[in-house]
Symmetry: C2
Subunit: 519 residues, 2 copies
């Protein structure tokens, strides 16, 4: 019911607000204009003046009345304006705004539910990325491997990482370079790190590169994303291995790339002829040690692949994620080292060699692509942590990197051998192991294919969590197998896990035999 | 000239290779198979057997001859196979490969130049990203601000960052959480950090959010990229402010987004009507403190913007990069806090508050977008450093964050006031300062527009390096001005820099007056 216009209460509101309650304290640390602003705001917030016709005194009058300068008053008023408590009408002065912020807040609250229920609108890109699955419905991303969970694939033994050495080097480099490590830094990466990596890669991976070809990145996935975004237009084709590291497909989908899976044979990726529309602009491979099958790409296949890339103006992305952990002889030379036509984009990471949480990797780019890669990185997220980069540079140049690799190679080789021994003893009746020459994983093929679903369920239940090989397959239809990780667990843990698995399987057999017999 | 088939030398080569030079040392640390592999490889590398018809002895014969097991021989041979030194012909045994790796290397060398000269093929995306320019042809990305260079815009005082405290907290958290911080971690970000940020943002930015709405990212650019990739399809439109933070346009281009610049007036971004094809799916704004003009978005404009977003099914990206450094009163409440329809994507960074090298930022996502953001992050580069995240969580919960902000606000306010005093005294005849209520920068408008090119050149020469305002403009045609950074320099440095600029300008005036007079 509208109130009659003549009510005295209404008339009082229309009058000029006097702000009699305001108390300014000239001895306080808070500046006068802030005190004024705060107290006026509290008055206005009370809602007594919220009908839009209450006028404020002029700044001159307010200043005189409160004994402060006009600029103090203006500062307070401009803030109240900005926050929506006041509005100005030209020629008529300043009024209390029709809609006070708090009122607005309450009013809008009512619309919340209706508006939020509108279905979420996400881009096609989000939908195009395959969901992150895990071999056993277990989120590796969140925990690496949770307590009581074992034999998960691709997990390095981070408890062996010499974190104390790392922190000591970090302190040294911080003491030496100081605030220079706190600023924005190069999009390419730390120059000392690029030099150290170039030397390492030339010596130990037979790469042929100059430090200026190296771009430091935040791990293997960013290396892939930057490369894909730099050389492929959305909708163009990349070939990947099938089976393949699951993140590869997700990263390439994010880049808007069409992903075509290619099978693996004993020599590596099969470069069969394709219809012209499926010819690749990039071919993703793991030549040192195919993930997850463990095949080392043959020399013949390497040269065929490079010829193919050259002839089709394509790039080869060499993911050299764990070449360092080769148990049979020294690591094979990289593809990058035998590429003389600038077609190989080489990428490595310290996630497996040192630990994943450093979030550091590197690209060795063909010279003519370096600028494009750096440009993408600078637009994407600027650069990696300068402190971590400088620490890694020191870790390499002072010899800790090589000695850690050497030490871990020995530990992993022992664990691999122990795993093989124990596995064959305890589970040799059900699986045939494929002995890997490198890496952190072992493929175990089922002798009785029909046991697959049972084993998958039981491994998931008992916390011994190899990935089903099929988890890494796109179109490949391989015989059933599981990929076990052996690297992150001690002998005791390995033996205990395998005993647990073997007895769970035996129990299941007995129960189902019993079940069958009693029926 | 082909050699006659009957030459004795040829016949000798066709015979079985005996590897007489091989010396195996049973006491060496190097395994026998590695010694065998290495020495056989050296023999083969010598090139004496490289014509493709030299056959190897059987593994049985070789094993017997050298007194080693057949498995030792097989390991060595398989490696030589993999590396391309050997090839097998079914039924005929093992031969020296036609093309030895080293031969291949040399042969290919000749093709290098021709192949590399092919023009670099980079994606359209790379070309679409505007080049990274700087206000004064000076690469901020590489150095922040080099020695002897001053008054660069947007540089925080990293020398005031309490790095010793940070490192102490880091050591504490490492001691407490140990190897758990070395593994892969959550794509969303550290849960303690998300809780600490949610509490901070609700208390000090008047945000309304739950820790589950927070996604930790590697800085503001990644926040933008993830948001753009999550809600826009390639080719769809985003509005940005004009003038604008230059990286915004680059990030959105990387996401394949069409960027439409919108002018700024005294209330903030102007939401004028647009042709339907230019309607935005995302609107990028800096409401607390427009970069670089410093305008605070009015309350009316905020509500208009949110209404517009709701009515057009668009999202507002609120870049709240330096709201903490407000000198007039407490920071204004965020847009996010008054959005009740899930249309605001709020993003912050510690690059200005703490220091850029931490590479940490955060998104407060509308609830229905959180999963999409996390999915994009997991495909992009997994997650940020768990150690740095945990350290930041502790830095916030133990009160260092707030006390650092408070301390820096005081330092910056003093530097701002000192800059204004000195600037007006020394350069007041040429510039009119626009006093900022917040942030690290001050806009100085030219009184004599024709001096622009001269001042631009001179600032570049003498190492006092404000950015030309035009550098941040896309279509906006503003009066000539420079954006000075005052935050990262001491009083002495500020005064010295302004004296240097004033006297360089005076010298230039005198020289050109003199030149004119003498002509």
């Amino acid at each position: 019911m509208p109130k009659p216009k003549s009510r005295p209460q209404k008339r009082r509101r229309r009058s000029i607000i006097t702000f009699e309650m305001i108390q300014l304290d000239r001895t306080a640390a808070e500046p006068l204009h802030e005190q004024l602003y705060r107290q006026m705001r509290d008055e206005l917030k009370s809602g007594r003046f919220s009908d839009g016709s209450s006028r404020l005194p002029s700044s001159r009058a307010l200043a005189a009345d409160r004994g402060v300068s006009r600029s103090t008053v203006r500062l307070a008023l401009s803030k109240l304006h900005a926050e929506g408590y006041l509005s100005s009408k030209t020629g008529s002065g300043t009024f209390v705004a029709n809609l006070l912020p708090e009122t607005f807040l309450t009013a809008n609250q009512l619309q919340t539910d209706e508006s939020i229920q509108r279905p979420a609108r996400v881009s096609n890109r989000v939908k195009a990325i395959p969901d992150k699955r895990t071999g056993n419905q277990f989120d590796l991303g969140a925990t690496g491997a949770g307590p009581g969970v074992s034999l998960v694939a691709s997990i390095p033994a981070v408890d062996e990482f010499p974190i104390a050495v790392w922190e000591r080097l970090r302190a040294q480099i911080l003491a030496k370079k100081g605030v220079n490590l706190l600023r924005y830094s190069s999009n390419r990466g730390d120059v000392d790190l690029r030099k150290a990596l170039a030397a390492y890669l030339c010596d130990f991976r037979a790469a042929r590169c100059h430090p200026d070809q190296i771009v430091i990145v935040a791990g293997m996935q960013q290396a892939m994303l930057i490369s894909a975004m730099s050389v492929l237009n959305p909708g163009e084709t990349a070939w990947i291995e099938d089976p393949c590291y699951q993140q590869t497909r997700r990263v390439l989908s994010l880049a808007g790339v069409k992903v075509v899976p290619k099978p693996i044979d004993a020599q590596g990726i099969v470069i069969a002829r394709s219809p012209k529309e499926l010819l690749p602009k990039m071919i993703y491979v793991t030549p040192s040690h195919q993930f997850p099958l463990g095949v080392t790409m043959s020399f013949q296949r390497r040269t065929d692949l490079l010829d193919f890339a050259r002839n089709h103006n394509a790039f080869v992305f060499e993911d050299d994620y764990d070449a360092e952990f080769r148990f049979v002889g020294p690591p094979l030379p990289s593809l990058q080292g035998i590429d003389t036509a600038g077609r190989v984009i080489y990428a490595g990471t310290v996630s497996k060699i040192l630990c994943p949480s450093l979030r550091l990797g590197y690209i060795v780019a063909p010279e003519h692509l370096v600028d494009a890669f750096v440009k993408i990185r600078s637009a994407m997220d600027q650069h990696s942590s300068p402190i971590e980069q400088a620490t890694l540079a020191r870790f390499i140049t002072e010899g800790f990197f090589l000695s850690h690799i050497k030490r871990m190679r020995k530990i992993y080789a022992e664990r691999r051998d122990f795993f093989i021994d124990q596995f064959n003893e305890l589970l040799g009746d059900r699986f045939t192991l494929q002995i890997p020459e490198a890496g952190l994983n072992i493929v175990a093929w089922l002798k009785h294919e029909e046991e697959f679903e049972t084993i998958k369920r039981i491994t998931s239940e008992i916390g011994v969590r190899p990935s089903a090989l099929s988890f890494f397959c796109i179109q490949a239809n391989l015989k059933p197998a599981f990929v076990f990780g052996f690297a992150a667990w001690t002998r005791t843990q390995i033996r205990e896990s395998l005993i647990r698995l073997a007895s769970a399987l035996r129990n299941h057999d007995q129960n189902s035999n019993h079940g069958r017999q009693s029926r």
